[in-house]
């Protein structure tokens, strides 16, 4: 769907040094969107007829509020496009394509473990809310640079959700010092112990959803396979059409027969089952 999203909120998100922004757009998209999906937005008010920058930018849905007809996007100022986007003001309107792609799948029952690296946390917030709404137990593993980053990237909102959290930072300024995957591994082994004791063969109804740097998602997938836990990953690639028409954003997967195939991240993804992904090509 192509719509004009009216800017009803646009502010610095957390510490300015982290260059994060929170953008709230009014429009019909919220009604049909689900967590893990994204939009492709133009970075300047639609009345500015400029072809530079040319392409739309893909941004995930961080919050979906169908009742208010609002979507919230959280983004980092990364380069030219997001720099220009950051200058858009309240009341202006942006051309938005979406909701795009296939989102995360919500398990019927059990626990949903979210594993986030850096700003990979953004799409997981919407997922957490839906999961909780559906009565699932949610647990967050989140790794970041340092305390300042985690606090800027929405830590308080997560605390407000009341989900159990395992934080880690590279410098140890908050949570465990080290990588988020270490936390995940520790927790998974612990759980395996428990289940062994009660004589079960698997860790039971746990599903993992992860978003972050490819290397991290690759490690998360490896762990999940070890512990026989289903895992979904959210991939990124530069996009042209964002609807599956240009083959610009492909990733490499293996099909049932183990042969290499290409899928379109924008249309078939961005969420895929971890075990499908051939990481060493995709990243």
């Amino acid at each position: 769907m192509l719509t004009e999203g009216q800017v009803v909120g646009h502010e610095c998100f957390g510490d300015e040094a982290q260059r994060l922004r929170r953008l709230v757009l009014k429009g019909p998209i919220a009604k049909s969107a689900k967590p893990g999906q994204f939009v492709a937005i133009q970075v300047q008010d639609s009345r500015v007829s400029s072809f530079d920058p040319l392409l739309r930018r893909p941004i995930s849905l961080a919050q979906i509020s169908p009742d208010q007809d609002e979507i919230t996007l959280l983004y980092r100022i990364q380069g030219r496009g997001t720099e220009i986007l950051a200058r858009v003001r309240y009341g202006e309107s942006l051309s938005v394509m979406g909701p795009l792609g296939k989102g995360f799948s919500l398990p019927e029952v059990g626990e949903l473990w979210l594993v986030a690296g850096g700003i990979g946390i953004f799409p997981l917030y919407a997922l957490a809310k839906s999961a909780l709404a559906q009565g699932l137990r949610v647990r967050l593993f989140w790794g970041g640079e340092n305390q300042s980053f985690l606090e800027s990237a929405g830590l308080s909102q997560w605390q407000a959700l009341g989900v159990q959290m395992h934080l880690s930072t590279l410098d140890g300024s908050l949570g465990q010092k080290g990588l988020v995957t270490e936390e995940l591994q520790a927790r998974l082994s612990q759980l395996l112990e428990q289940t062994k004791q009660v004589g079960q063969s698997s860790t039971g109804q746990i599903n993992v959803a992860t978003c972050g740097p490819a290397r991290m998602m690759q490690a998360v997938t490896k762990l999940c396979l070890e512990f026989k836990v289903p895992v979904e990953v959210s991939l990124e690639e530069r996009m042209g059409c964002a609807v599956g028409a240009c083959l610009g954003c492909i990733c490499t997967l293996t099909d049932e027969r183990g042969t290499l195939i290409h899928k379109k991240i924008c249309q078939d993804g961005p969420v895929f089952r971890g075990e499908e992904v051939v990481w060493d090509v995709s990243c």
Binding site: F51, R238, M239, L247
Partner: protein, 309 residues
């Protein structure tokens, strides 16, 4: 009900209106359905196919440039057999003119595909891409040498009863010579232009942005080069021209028609505005009305009138 007759025809193919979508930017016709109903379009051109399936190049395949886009998809496609089996049955049902686009790495490749695609396939025409700059040697050779271009077109022409559209590369010294060559070869129309060969370098990584190093430049940045080539070719040959290259607004499209294009095609413009084709059709209609033209066909080449060049 409009006062302006938008219908136009290209040797053996009648179009509801002169606005098509370009190969490689419109998938197999269904991806943009939610944004732009195909029945509103003059026609669509499918992603280029080759005899064998191809996975194409590695990512990154795209790089943005000022008012432009570099792509190095590398002709990823399911291959002829799979196309006939899984795609053709669907696309032939689309309520618009469907043009297949074929690429090859040898004369035989082109011949094989032309043989497999006839009028009874439900296709409206065959666009022969002798110009894809992404694949090493890929098409490039055919697209830059008049003799081989003429040969390919001639070879394809005898194999199929579908109208043949020769798609030319702009990466040549003499576009007119290329157009004359494919006319000799028996082409029914020409498509101008394919992408300009370009590249970007990531100054942080200190290596090319595209995994394939080179890519094809498209988008508004190349529009002036495309309009110029359409202008020159329309003066030199009698074949209808499908003009493309950076068309994003109706004003862009009108420039191509005035320059001598019988129809226009929207490629990268779809990425910028997935409703661009619809707005372009509407804009052309309004423009004709404003200028008091009964048919869009009267626009074709109008800017040449009273100019000595």
């Amino acid at each position: 009900m409009s006062l302006v007759d938008l219908a136009t025809s290209i040797e053996g193919m009648t179009l509801r209106n002169p606005v098509l979508t370009s190969s490689g930017t419109y998938g197999f016709g269904e991806e943009y359905a939610a944004y732009c109903p195909v029945e509103a379009l003059g026609g669509i051109t499918l992603k280029g196919i080759t005899p064998q399936p191809r996975l194409g190049n590695s990512v990154p395949r795209l790089a943005e440039t000022p008012a432009g886009l570099l792509n190095s998809v590398g002709l990823e496609n399911p291959g002829l057999e799979e196309f006939l089996k899984s795609y053709l049955p669907k696309v032939r049902k689309l309520p618009t003119a469907v043009i297949a686009n074929i690429s090859g790495f040898s004369l035989e490749d082109y011949v094989e595909m032309a043989r497999a695609l006839q009028r009874d396939s439900g296709l409206a025409a065959l666009e022969v891409n002798i110009s894809c700059p992404n694949v090493k040697h890929g098409g490039m050779h055919f697209g830059t040498d008049p003799k081989s271009a003429e040969e390919v077109i001639a070879a394809v022409k005898v194999e199929t009863n579908l109208p043949i559209i020769a798609k030319l590369s702009p990466n040549v010294t003499d576009i007119v010579g290329m157009a004359q060559a494919v006319q000799r070869g028996g082409a029914d129309a020409v498509s101008l232009i394919n992408t300009l060969l370009g590249m970007r370098i990531d100054i942080d990584q200190q290596r090319p942005v595209l995994a394939n190093t080179f890519g094809g430049l498209s988008g508004p940045a190349i529009l002036p080069v495309a309009v110029r080539m359409v202008w020159q070719v329309s003066q030199a040959i009698d074949l209808p021209i499908i003009g493309m290259g950076g068309i994003t607004t109706w004003q862009d499209a009108v420039e191509f028609l005035l320059a001598g294009a019988t129809a226009v095609s929207v490629g990268t413009g779809n990425f910028v505005n997935p409703q661009a084709p619809l707005e372009i059709i509407q804009g052309i209609e309004n423009y004709c009305e404003k200028k008091g033209l009964a048919s869009v066909r009267e626009l074709v080449g109008l800017a040449h009138k009273g100019l000595v060049t």
